[in-house]
Amino acid sequence: MTNEVLKEQILTLEPTATFDETGEWLNVQVEPAQWKELARGLRNSAMHFDYLFCLTCVDWKTHMTMVYHLSSTSHRHNIVVKAKVDRSQPEIETVCDIWRTAEFHEREVFELFGVVFLSHPDLRKLILTDDFEGYPLRKDFEDPINMIKL
């Protein structure tokens, strides 16, 4: 499907979504509250985005952005969905019941960025130790002992 068709179909699912076509793939911007519904639509509609190949977060100092890279194994089209979350209290609905790969990726983002995924079945630290304090991939993170910032 071309970007135009995708845009049209996404707008029927979520009228408030905004688009950006400057990148390689179509970028869709949604509010965190609307993300879960849109995600379900993207997976189950004719667009058939069944493969979540990248889930990550970017810290922009004033806010954080959740970034979801989606692909369809049948149509071979890709999109990027972005949701802006509040930096002081980052919260977004989990999508691990839609794409199961999200369970691990969300746990990773939770410990490295501190984003809380609502109704995640098992939101615990995955890589870091349980008593680790702070969120290492945030821009203001400093660790005086293990200098990872050069």
Binding site: W25, Y51, F53, L128
Partner: protein, 379 residues
């Protein structure tokens, strides 16, 4: 004679429901090939649940990258999936080239593909040996390493390292290939073709090997996609996901090769896919080795690379599956944010689903055919 419940009372690791036993497998375990810690809940011999605990070799490569320049950051990635070092480097180099629109000379492109395919074979060779050893067969390891040694020597000649090579740089390759490169690669191809039947006799047609892998660790097509599996793991379940075919990069669109697919979805299918993939890699090498174009091996680039502001994503096919590099650039000399989508991380997340309900002994076969490289998962 203890009954099962009494044994649990005596074991310090035990917790959970009656008749359930919790066992820590790893962080140091011969079958995990690295420091992976699995907390396995068992009912007798049956696996009830597997919980991976990661991070024993987490180096925070993503954070480190934020303070490295665009010339430096490729080197760190050799230490992620150390068996696919060339391919990791290539992904990073391609991201910078894509962002800065650097035209890579044809010679460099061909050398890159040749190195990638040699890496893929070397990685699969090591995997055969290691997996057969997990299942109790020791000899295949020596057979596999006999051929792998030839590739390692080729790498040493041209790249100066036998493991964790740093050869791909933004703009091309670091230096030209060794004068003996073509001769040695051809010798390797001949040796591999002569000897690959030995693997078939020793492993593929082995009754014990077959009965330990057939029907073990089943993964359906839908689950493979949902868990984000890629590479041979997904292709053994019938998911067409070879990035070299779907989104060709470098010269993969100019060479003939088949995407190896299987539909059985079990451990044996994953084994077969990798064996066939090695043969396809040999096919690619044979098509390119005599026709390496003359010319530069590196494009002329500025000393300091400054990609424009924006977001760039590159996908490549490593020996383990799809590696993604997500670069967020603010126009500076260092990346603002880098995310490595590593194939092992997603493949591992399917382990619990695949091993549940199976026997603890089968877990070795399932884990072995997932081909996990722990530094790739932890990053």
């Amino acid at each position: 004679m203890y009954t099962q419940t009494e044994v649990i009372k005596d074991t310090t690791t035990a917790k959970g429901a009656e008749n359930e036993l919790v066992i820590n497998m790893g962080p140091q375990h011969p079958a995990t090939h690295g420091v992976l810690h699995l907390v396995v809940t068992l009912d007798g011999e049956t696996v009830k649940k597997i919980e991976p605990h990661l991070g024993y070799i987490h180096r925070s490569i993503e954070k480190m990258t934020e303070s490295l320049t665009y010339r430096q950051f490729t080197y760190v990635t050799s230490r992620m999936d150390y068996l696919s070092a060339h391919i990791n480097n290539l992904a990073c180099a391609m991201t910078v080239e894509k962002a800065m629109q650097i035209e890579v000379p044809e010679r460099a492109r061909v050398i890159r593909v040749l190195m990638n395919e040699l890496t893929r074979i070397a990685s699969h060779e090591l995997w055969i040996g290691a997996m057969a050893m997990d299942l109790g067969a020791f000899t295949p390891f020596f057979y596999a390493f006999r051929e792998r040694e030839m590739i390692t020597e080729i790498m040493e000649d041209s790249c100066g390292a036998r493991l964790t090579m740093n050869y791909m740089v933004p703009g091309g390759v670091m230096h030209d290939i060794h004068p003996d490169f073509q001769k040695k690669v051809k010798a390797f191809v001949q040796q591999f073709k002569d000897k690959v039947t030995e693997y078939e006799d020793l492993v593929t047609n082995n009754v014990i090997f077959q009965s330990r892998t057939k029907g073990v660790g089943y993964l359906s097509k839908e689950d493979a996609i949902s868990y984000g599996c890629s590479g041979p793991v997904a292709r053994a379940s019938g998911v067409s996901c070879d990035i070299r075919k779907i989104y060709p990069y470098e010269v993969y669109d100019k060479v003939e090769f088949d995407e190896v697919l299987d539909t059985a979805g079990d451990s044996f299918a994953r084994y077969i896919v990798r064996i066939k993939e090695m043969n396809q890699s040999i096919r690619i090498i044979e098509q390119l080795i005599d026709t390496i174009p003359e010319g530069d091996f590196q494009a002329k680039t500025k000393a300091v690379l400054k990609p424009p502001k924006g977001e760039f994503y590159t996908r490549v096919e490593t020996a383990r599956g799809e590696l993604g590099v997500y670069l967020v650039s603010e126009g500076g000399t260092t990346p603002y944010r880098i995310k490595y989508r590593s194939p092992g991380f997603s493949n591992l997340s399917a382990l619990d689903h695949m091993a549940r309900g199976g026997k603890i002994g089968d877990l070795m076969a399932t884990m072995g055919t997932l081909d996990l490289v722990i530094p790739d998962i932890d990053r």
